[in-house]
Assembly symmetry: C2
Homo-oligomer: 440 residues x 2
Amino acid sequence: MADALKIGIAGLGTVGAALARIIQQRGDELAATCGRPIRIVAVSARDRTKDRGVDLSGVEWFDGPVDLAHKADIDVFVELIGGSEGAANASVRAALARGLHVVTANKALLAYHGVEFAEIAEEKGTLLNFEAAVAGGIPVIKALRESLTGNTISRVYGIMNGTCNYILTRMEKEGLSFADCLKEAQRLGYAEADPAFDIEGNDTAHKLAILTTLAFGHRIAADDIHLEGITNISIEDIRAASELGYRIKLLGVAQRTDTGIEQRVHPTMVPLDSVIAQVDGVTNAVAIESDILGELLMVGPGAGGNATASSVLGDIADIAKSQPGAQRVPVLGHPAKQLKPYQKAQMRLHSGGYFIRLTVQDRTGVFASVAGRMAENNISLESIVQRSKQHLSPSDHQTIILVTHATKEDSVRKAVAAIQTEGYLVGEPQVIRIERPKED
Amino acid sequence: MADALKIGIAGLGTVGAALARIIQQRGDELAATCGRPIRIVAVSARDRTKDRGVDLSGVEWFDGPVDLAHKADIDVFVELIGGSEGAANASVRAALARGLHVVTANKALLAYHGVEFAEIAEEKGTLLNFEAAVAGGIPVIKALRESLTGNTISRVYGIMNGTCNYILTRMEKEGLSFADCLKEAQRLGYAEADPAFDIEGNDTAHKLAILTTLAFGHRIAADDIHLEGITNISIEDIRAASELGYRIKLLGVAQRTDTGIEQRVHPTMVPLDSVIAQVDGVTNAVAIESDILGELLMVGPGAGGNATASSVLGDIADIAKSQPGAQRVPVLGHPAKQLKPYQKAQMRLHSGGYFIRLTVQDRTGVFASVAGRMAENNISLESIVQRSKQHLSPSDHQTIILVTHATKEDSVRKAVAAIQTEGYLVGEPQVIRIERPKED
């Protein structure tokens, strides 16, 4: 059997500790499958005394990740710290510069420095693997980097934030408000004390930015993403969606258009009978549409120590199975130096269906006015629902819900702006984009 | 750039022709991604003159696959002929013996000779890839062989035959009979003129046998599979399933139990709100349950020239990206010589829920008798529906539908056998197993 693959783990939190336990418990099995043993020889973590359920007595401890990356006698540097800058950045940079293979679960790091790091890895002929950085346990990076070779991809989209999906699922199933579900998610550990990063869509955006590059071969553009969170989704939207045959999910969507690449994260109506609509709770799902394969959808756990560790271990095993020094696959699916400049498509040119919910004063002519503004902007309507909402608000208010056929975002914005000047609108209009699977 | 990877394609049917077109059209892109060009240098097919939409003028033609495997100057032999014996078998055997890499889409060949071929490939240090052999475009082989390294798998199940899923979907959506849907499937080219291989479950069984070995590390046992097709599924079963919150799918299921591995292919009730229940038409889906990752579900096209060619191309690209001579991964997930003997679990020990539909004579005491037979066999019931079926049969017949909680198959068989001796049963009893996703 070949020499052991020596790995160093920077960060022994939930994922790092799970990874160390699995490698220790399943050593023989891993060695048989990989053709060589995988051995943890170095670690770094703040607390050396904490019980992590794993025996690290024979392992060399380093004071910090950068120290570990510089000095440890290892083949693979595993970064499980997090954050796009600081120690994670410095240690990965040091490890790559030394010619080590790197495995990371760090989406922010890749979203902001992925291209630069890919260039270094490709120059050095080492591997930079990051399956766990997007959608946790779902092997979407491998599917895009390897299985779909030769395919031209038209759209990648998915549920990539478990916190948001948990909240939306609870809201629908139990009729609870956003605020109540958020509290419950925090209590169960599905949401952070400061939940902004999740519920405002930033977490999804980081993951989407990585997928976009793998799918379309453009440089990563994590700051060029249209971003809307789920904080203003009400139980009324969810109910109306359901009545019209839709369910609301926070999707990240990257799509090839005539004018460039659309990258957007926003609450989205998906058809109730679509497979992705059934993805509940903290589960994630990613769909890839391509010209040869067709549509591939993968559903699985998006977070959690074990699921994430499983992806990290898969990445390490890929390195173990490779011939030493073999550059198997371009880090970002396409050679980093050949990535095209990112060409952003304008959101106002987005084409699709829209759900529009308006609360209006109950007076004659309002409905005709709304319909008129739609017609003026050439928006054709799939369905219109008008009803009084006495149970929710003063009885002189009504709700009008419109679902449009495919139209331009620009037209919808103009129509809604025109309606806003009419004086009969109560509160803010709600506009939610509709996304359909390819076959529809 | 490294030397071109030279491939020979045996069989230029739908898949082979699609593969040749894609490689020709996307040569530059493939070369950039794989780090070397992929070049078709040899082919074999019956008809040399047929227009396949691809220019094969510079390619060497061979009289047959065996000749191609023996003589062509190639690195990779691509077998797209089909069948477990004959030319497919002989040519793959010859190619492996010569030390060529082999890519095949042939499920029957692997189901019956996979272990032997894996041993040869591992001895020679060459790759034997077969992503397209199971579930067409879905990268389930890669997920099991690579992504899930280190996981202990408890169950693999899925919809792996598009013909059956198309028929069951049409029956439910349009209230058509099995026979009518089969005719429609034949007209659309989704079913063969002789449909037995699909509708009786053999096709699913071949695919399942391969997945079982990848999942559990046992030798392939394609003939040790409990097999029931969909030919006796009636529209009445489908309606009753729907009313009780289930949908009927033909599943292949491989499951680890205390007494061995269960391999079974049969019509199955899945919960209506499960993700797999939404997989309609010719689409396939495979779920993998493992202890570290959790549940992973992949949904995609199970057949078709392009989808299959996409998987074949992914396999070729994996070889192109590997260092020459690198043995990256054991062919069947575990080194072939270390595969355990297959240990079959008896179906009568299967534990799960059951749907039982009985047509009975409408006389006093029948319902009590049925309930009594269930109780005698310690079968606890989740729901019981009794109703007259005047619209379907003489008015003195009634239907009794039982759904059991988890119970042993043996108990169900005994209870049903006891009921059959009572004399009030009309026709055959219908028994359909229920399968639930892990989280239920």
